[in-house]
Each structure stands twice: as structure tokens, then as C-alpha cells.
């Protein structure tokens, strides 16, 4: 054993154990619930308003490379597409990466089939733009005067462009990303946001699988323990006892 890594190893072991145990529990019981997410409620509100106004809603993943954020985005897209199918509202998807086109088509089709509306799905509304994603997205938002604007994924400065374009039509905007450099902008311009891991939890809530459940439960447990440690540790330090503070770096 190396020096100063005991607690670190304990954290990793707890993480892995919780991951597998909670995934297995879910496999047996099928039970998982998480708190209500403002972003999901706002998405529904946006689609409802779009239906009233007879305007479409717009979806994009941003320009970032394919990573885990896309996996959460697929689930959230399925949720949005399902609502759109239910209310007969158009959903336009702008895509930058070629590799996510087939996945996106599949996700949208699945949502329409589940609502029994497969005939009203418009395949041409899933649009691949590649490198010209940004101008194409701005153009789509303006031409269609969208009433709702969603962007979930690995976002870069295209998030600002999208917010600005949709703000002109007072669209309800919901975005989410783990990229800390964009969080301030989406928080400033949107009606609701998913902050980092929040979108993974929302995805697990919408469509739970053992892996997704484990991926939410494990960090949840570690975070809970950390919060307790912070409180106890701070109280101990306040009373002049630094045992816990030095212990966790052992």
C-alpha cells in the first residue's frame, strides 16, 4: 500500500460497489426515483405553448465531440419527441456530428411509435448539417420562429448563438451541459437548465436501466457521505479538533 491513498482507495471501492449493488437491486425490483427536474417540466411547458401557438420546437446537441453527454441527450430527446408526438407539434433537430444521425432518427421514431403517431413523423425534420451546423441552426430557428428551443450535450459557443436566435421569438429555452465554460451563458439566457450531472439523473429518471441507475446512485451516495463529512469536519475544526480533516487525506 502506498502512503496517503487509503481513503482514496476506499472512495473508489465504495463507488464501484454501490454501482454494482444498486444496478442489481434495480434489475430485481425495477424501482428507481429521483427528484423532480425543473428542466423536464419546462420542456413540457415549452411544447405545450408551441402547440397553442402552432409553432415548432427546435433541438440541438451542440458542436462538441461525441461523449457521455450525448447518451443523456438521447433520452431527453426521446422525452421531448414523445411530447411533440402526443400534441402533434413539429420537432426539428439540427445535428453537427454525422455519427449521431442514425441514433437520432431511431430515438425520434421510437418516441412517435410509442405514442401511436408514427405516420405523423417527418423524417426530413432530423437535419444533418456537419460543419455548417451553427448558421443552419440560426436560420432554422428564425425561419420557423420556434416556440421552444432545447440544447443538450457538449456545448461550446454555439449555445449563445442559439439562445440569441430563439430569444427574438420569446421561445422557452431549456439547455444542459457539463461544460463549465458554457453553464453561465445558458443559465443567463434560458428558462431552465440542467447543470452537469443533473442531465444524467434526469435521463435515468425518464428511462431507467441498470447502468444508468448505478451511475446515479454511486455518486449520490459518495456525495451524501461527503456532505456529512463536511458538516462533522467543520464542526470539529471549529472546536479545535482537526482529526477528521487530516484523516481523510491519509
Amino acid at each position: 500500500m502506498n502512503q496517503g491513498v487509503t481513503v482514496q482507495l476506499l472512495v473508489l471501492a465504495t463507488f464501484i460497489a454501490t454501482f454494482y449493488i444498486s444496478a442489481n437491486i434495480y434489475r430485481k425490483t425495477g424501482e428507481f426515483s429521483a427528484r423532480k427536474f425543473e428542466g423536464l417540466a419546462k420542456m413540457e411547458e415549452a411544447i405545450g405553448r408551441a402547440t397553442e401557438m402552432g409553432k415548432p420546437v427546435h433541438w440541438s446537441y451542440g458542436m462538441g465531440a461525441f461523449d457521455a453527454q450525448y447518451l443523456a441527450a438521447f433520452v431527453l430527446l426521446e422525452y421531448a419527441a414523445g411530447l411533440c408526438a402526443k400534441y402533434d407539434t413539429r420537432l426539428i433537430v439540427s445535428i453537427a456530428l454525422p455519427e449521431v444521425v442514425p441514433m437520432t432518427e431511431e430515438v425520434v421514431r421510437k418516441a412517435y411509435i410509442e405514442q401511436g403517431k408514427v405516420e405523423s413523423m417527418q423524417p426530413e425534420d432530423v437535419r444533418f448539417w456537419g460543419g455548417s451546423h451553427n448558421p443552419a441552426m440560426i436560420g432554422t430557428i428564425s425561419r420557423e420562429q420556434v416556440a421552444g428551443n432545447f440544447m443538450i450535450g457538449s456545448l461550446f459557443h454555439e449555445s449563445i448563438l442559439s439562445i440569441e436566435a430563439a430569444a427574438r421569438y420569446n421561445a422557452i429555452q431549456v439547455m444542459g451541459t457539463s461544460n463549465t465554460h458554457q453553464l453561465p451563458f445558458i443559465a443567463a439566457g434560458c428558462d431552465a437548465i440542467f447543470i452537469g450531472a443533473e442531465m444524467f439523473a434526469a435521463a435515468a429518471q425518464l428511462d431507467a436501466t441498470p447502468v444508468r441507475v448505478g451511475s446515479v446512485r454511486a455518486p449520490d451516495l459518495i456525495t451524501s457521505v461527503f456532505v456529512v463529512l463536511m458538516v462533522v469536519g467543520a464542526l470539529m475544526v471549529t472546536m479545535g479538533n482537526t482529526t477528521l480533516k487530516t484523516l481523510i487525506m491519509r
Partner: protein, 208 residues
């Protein structure tokens, strides 16, 4: 063959990662040496990977030129620039005089300026995008304005402005970002773990 195509990549991923993790926690001198070697290999593979982007771009722009697309001339500009950099760069590496000229007077100004144009995005977004729609956005904007007032005219007339900005930075900002850092690090642990044990394979790529 299926083993090489689908299982081997997962095995390689796991074994490489396991050696590095094990020697981090346990004192095994031989593994330490091995891990240092693996890290060097990682660096070399990463260096190879820097050239990977060329394939897709050449395919895309060559296609446009072949189709005589309306943007073919621009595509030619991309390919010609790329060819120049590659020809001179491969001949004399970055240590050559001509390559430095290319870097100083082409790559540097376009890279710096392309990023500087985000200044315009921020300007128009400030005016048209950042509508204060709820109390969260209101708090955000107040904090943003306080940060921007820490230098210049306001600091000149209101010496307290920089002190307020410093407080906002040192206390609530550092504290709030700490939660974001902790959350982000846990996400990183989760993602890394899923990659290492092969639950996530998106990076391995499609194909047959």
C-alpha cells in the same frame, strides 16, 4: 476474428487501466516501472492521434471539389493550406525557419482572430440573449456586473468596487464552484469507470 474485433479492445482497455490504477494504490516497484512505460506509450499514441483529424477533412473537402460544389473554391483553400503545412512541416519539423514563418504569419493570426471574433457574439448576445427571466438569472447578472466593475472607471470613482468583486470571487464564487468541481470530478470518476470496464464503448467507433 470476432474476438479481435470486439473483445480484444475491451481487454486492452481494462488491462492498461488496471496496471495504472493498481500501482497508484499499491507499492509494487515492477508495476511502477511498467506504468511509466505505459504512460510513455499513451503519449506516443496521443501524438499519432493528433493527425487523425486530417482524414475526415480531406474526405469532406475533396468530395466537395470533385462534385464541383459551390463551395469548392473554399475547400481548395483548406486543402492547399493543409498541404503547405504538411509538406514544409514534415520536411523540416517545427524547428525549421520556413515552418516558423507559416506558423507566425498564417496559423497564429487566424487562430488568435477566430477566437477573438467571439467578442462580437458576446456583444450581440449581451444585448439580445441574456434576458433576466427568473431570480436565478437576476442573481447571476448582479454577480457578473460586480466582476466587470472591478477595474476602470468604477474602480476609479468607487474604490470599494474592486473589494466587493474580490469578495464575490473569494467567497461565494469559490464556494459555489467547489460544488461544481466536486460534481464534475465524480462524473469523471463514473465515466472513467464505465470506460475501463467496457460499459461504455462509444469511443471505440463503429464499422464492422
Amino acid at each position: 476474428m470476432t474476438f479481435i474485433k470486439t473483445k480484444l479492445p475491451v481487454v486492452v482497455t481494462f488491462v492498461g487501466a488496471f496496471i495504472i490504477i493498481a500501482q497508484y494504490y499499491f507499492d509494487i516497484p515492477a508495476w511502477k516501472t511498467l506504468a511509466a512505460e505505459l504512460l510513455r506509450w499513451n503519449v506516443i499514441l496521443a501524438a499519432f492521434a493528433l493527425a487523425l483529424g486530417i482524414g475526415g477533412i480531406v474526405k469532406l473537402h475533396w468530395g466537395r471539389i470533385a462534385r464541383r460544389a459551390p463551395t469548392a473554391l473554399y475547400s481548395a483553400a483548406t486543402l492547399i493550406t493543409l498541404a503547405f503545412f504538411l509538406a514544409i512541416g514534415l520536411a523540416q519539423t517545427t524547428r525549421g525557419e520556413s515552418y516558423r514563418w507559416l506558423y507566425d504569419y498564417i496559423y497564429l493570426p487566424v487562430a488568435a482572430t477566430s477566437y477573438a471574433t467571439t467578442f462580437f457574439f458576446i456583444t450581440s448576445a449581451a444585448y439580445r440573449a441574456f434576458r433576466i427571466k427568473n431570480s436565478y438569472a437576476a442573481v447571476l447578472m448582479v454577480s457578473a456586473v460586480l466582476m466587470m466593475l472591478q477595474i476602470g472607471i468604477f474602480a476609479a470613482f468607487l474604490p470599494i468596487a474592486p473589494r466587493i468583486a474580490a469578495w464575490v470571487w473569494n467567497i461565494p464564487t469559490s464556494a459555489g464552484m467547489r460544488a461544481v468541481v466536486i460534481g464534475g470530478a465524480l462524473s469523471l470518476v463514473g465515466n472513467s469507470f464505465r470506460v475501463i470496464v467496457g460499459l461504455e464503448r462509444g469511443h471505440l467507433g463503429g464499422g464492422e
